[in-house]
Amino acid sequence: MDFLLLLLASGLVSGAAYGLIAMGFALIFKSTGVVNFAQGELVMLTAYISFTLYSTFDLSFFPLMLVTIPISMAIGLALERLFIRPMLGEPIFAIVMVTVGLAVVLRGITIMIWGPDPFNFNAGIPTEVVELGGVPFYPAQLYLIGALAVLTAAGWAFLRFSRMGIAMRAVAANETAALLVGISVSRIHAIAWMLSAAIASIAGVLFAANFKLAPDLWFQGLRSFPAVILGGMDSVIGSAVAGLVIGVIENLFQGYVGQGLREISGFIVIVIVLMVRPFGLFGSRDIERV
């Protein structure tokens, strides 16, 4: 029983990281139709920047994020303007290839600046263990789960009630019609990249605080893919939930079936899910009615 609880708890922690990264994916995919293969690298780069800010100014977590997030948003905006915007009108496949190239470049730049050795980075989060329902947690673990909860709620409210959030869904639904009501589609794309980069930085910092800050952080982007697909690619809230599901499943597999199965269990799950529901658990089935 205790073993199960522990597995569930650590599953929720790694699942929260998947969920956050998947949310960033979904946000860009939903409003621009692009699968951003550089999302993992965005997570990595922003975490390293945050690390430098932390070691330079010795900030605690919230002030640190207050500085990290705007910088990350600026990076997201710059990437969109410099590399994605000029590709407008090209086939989606070509744009996706640009993000693949971008991923390699960002990875290279990060390793060039910060080197290949891992750092300890607690992001200004306290380190004394706290106990919750008999399960011991590090505060960083609770911050990660808390961040997912807060961002999921905020994301839901934003997409549902704010004009900009509704406009984002409108662009996803019908780009030409969005232009015809006066929505600037390119501005929506830029906002999607900015918000996605903000979420990436939160994911990156909290992941690094829980595990370590190392150049293989980008790989979490790929590891989050089952969550992205399970969430249905374009559901921001769905990806968050799917992240938790995948995290828990992975840990249960590891605990009860075998070590090596952890890595592939997520992918096994999505194969099964896709056979039953091709649009993921939460994705939008295209509404077609004439």
Binding site: L180, V181, G182
Partner: protein, 262 residues
């Protein structure tokens, strides 16, 4: 109010969809643009709204003027801000959004208070969609969807409203509701209308002036009554059986004209 001067439009820099089209929509008028499938009607509306680039279309020559100012080349958002709104062909709703979200997006360029007032106006015109305000628009009936599409455009406070085949595939009763609303807005708030239709009967009853386009060219234009009583239009457009005169010239004429019937 709106003037197109010798517009030529190419798709993919190769396919000529519109050639040398000039037309004028005077302030406060309802003008009809009639033509059969593929004549170039939607292409013209897309050019006016500035969204041709989405389909690799381009205005190669000519100009589009709104109150004497050139709008060809302007961003769609700026064209909307200047009060030029379009109800696109096939409705093109934001199908995953609710009815009210669709309408609120229609007022995207307007202030919050204008949006609130706009909702009231639209729901007043189309009470049926008020009942469905929280429903996902993609699941509405075709008629209800068309009301949402018209309502969404009205939310942008159009000074000139363009409608692309609003009657297509709808029951007569719904067509009547929609056309009544348009005529009412035209009469009461001086909203100018450019109406694209294949249903010439309906369009020429509603409009005061009409243009007939065929293969990307304007082949005939005139006041609605003149067009209605025009022999060619009657025979080949309104579906009246023709008179007795049949010269060779008429036959040739017929062959040319009948294309916009098919």
């Amino acid at each position: 109010m709106l003037a197109l001067n010798n517009i030529q439009i190419l798709y993919d820099r190769a396919i000529e969809a519109v050639r040398d089209v000039s037309l004028e929509v005077p302030q406060g008028a309802i003008v009809a643009l009639l033509g059969s499938n593929g004549a170039g009607k939607s292409t013209i509306l897309k050019a006016i709204s500035g969204v041709l680039y989405q389909e690799d279309g381009e205005i190669m020559s000519g100009s589009i003027l709104l109150e004497g100012e050139r709008i060809s080349g302007a961003a769609p958002r700026d064209i909307v801000r200047r009060g030029l709104l379009q109800v696109p062909e096939g409705r093109a709703l934001f199908s995953t959004l609710t009815v009210e979200e669709n309408l609120v997006m229609g007022g995207f360029t307007r202030s919050r208070s204008e949006t609130a007032a706009g909702l009231e106006t639209v729901y007043g015109l189309f009470p049926r969609i008020k009942e469905r305000r929280t429903q996902i628009s993609g699941y509405l009936s075709g008629g209800e969807q068309q009301m949402v599409a018209v309502g969404r455009a009205l939310m942008g406070r159009p000074r000139l409203l363009m409608l692309d085949e609003p009657s297509l595939g709808l029951a007569p009763q719904i067509v009547e509701t929609i056309f009544e609303a348009i005529v009412k807005l035209n009469a009461e708030s001086a909203m100018t209308v450019l109406l694209v239709e294949q249903n010439a009967q309906l369009a020429l009853q509603t409009a005061s002036y009409g243009y007939i386009i065929e293969n990307g060219r304007i082949v005939l234009d005139g006041p609605a009554e003149t067009l209605r009583s025009n022999q060619d239009v009657q025979e080949f457009y309104l579906g009246f059986s023709g008179g007795e005169r049949r010269s060779m010239r008429d036959v040739k004429h017929y062959k040319r004209r009948k294309r916009w019937l098919s």
